[in-house]
Amino acid sequence: MTLMVGVIVWLLLRPAVDAAVAGLAQTLIRAFEHPRVTRLVEDGHRVEVHRSDFRSGSGIPTIALAENNFNLIVLLALYLALPRPFSRRQLERLLMGCCVLYLTQALNLVFHVKTLYATGLGEWSQQTYSNLARNVFGFGQYFTDLPGRFSFPFLIWLGFNWDLVMGMVRPDVEEKAHTSSKAKKTRS
């Protein structure tokens, strides 16, 4: 049920999320680029990678955004599964969680673009990037693609809701911890 709600909310937010992820990724890439030639244009849930130094008429590489930000569905579903998901505290935590997830999605897109530059543009890639750079960007893409994309929503959800999740999974231990911290406060 929460998954379906997550899917619906994501489908509604998707155009905005796509544009925001592409925008932040472009800013991050251009921040470390000299001259600043990269422009990411979001078009129909894909990002077109434009470089102002491409020859006119050369093909424009594109990167799919669906795989990049579908994990928002998981984060939303996990938040909705917690008690009182629409309380002020939970909505604040959800907002913070979404911001962190957004950063990871932008970072993933940055690695995709840099890996494309380092490995996907033929001789130009070979001449411009070192083997070390190829490995670093390739590993960054791999790590933010497979384990990252799947585990970030869980980590963010758990990190921001440690007290609630521990209350669910270990109620007795949490109760003891709560009582002892209360007792300490009373003593001091």
């Binding site: 998954l3 994990n71 384990p147």
Partner: protein
């Protein structure tokens, strides 16, 4: 003279101790550490060729056998499962390995006894493989009957479902490990 390699001061050691004493920080460090290490290992070419590819091919063979049991004349070539009506290639992201490693990281990072962790790892891997088999079979039939929805079902629904199932398994296991007196005091 300032040196980057100066020994850590007592204050720094105390701060690290304080961070390690926080259960959520300890969980995060062990979880991310295990995940980083395990995914680095499975990304190495020799490991990929010797373990990941044969494992994925085995998943393909099991899926092909299950499809034949369900009446679909499926043939398997390497990691490709095909029938006269549809075909899928099972890639590294579709073999259940990622969710399994994430679940194992979660189980190992959670404070519980080693026997409970062993039960969590073995039980979790079995359940995830069963869920992944169901995922491959349903996607295959979606591909046959509703090919336009295959991509959506593959990326949004089943990937999300598998992650949520992994998290649910972890919550159930953690609850069990505490309720069964398996949690360390």
């Amino acid at each position: 003279m300032f040196s980057f390699f100066a020994p850590p001061s007592r204050r720094h050691v105390m701060t690290l101790h304080r961070i390690w004493d926080r259960p959520e920080a300890r969980f995060l460090i062990v979880f991310v550490g295990f995940l980083g290490m395990s995914f680095t290992i499975v990304a190495l070419n020799p490991v990929n060729d010797a373990i990941v590819l044969p494992y994925t091919a085995w998943i393909a063979r099991v899926s092909g056998a299950a499809l034949r049991v369900l009446g679909e004349p499926a043939a398997v070539t390497g990691c490709i499962v095909s029938s006269p009506r549809f075909a899928v290639t099972i890639y590294n992201g579709c073999n259940g390995l990622i969710t399994s490693l994430i679940l194992v990281a979660g189980v190992l990072a959670f404070p519980a006894r080693w026997t409970a962790k062993l039960v969590g790892v073995v039980g979790g891997l079995v359940v995830i493989q069963i869920l992944n088999l169901i995922r491959i079979l349903t996607l295959f039939f979606i591909g046959i009957h509703f090919p336009n929805y295959f991509n959506n079902a593959h990326v949004y629904i089943w990937q999300s479902l598998i992650i949520i199932a992994g998290v649910a398994l972890w919550v159930v296991w953690a609850n069990w490990s505490a309720a069964g007196g398996e949690a360390p005091q």
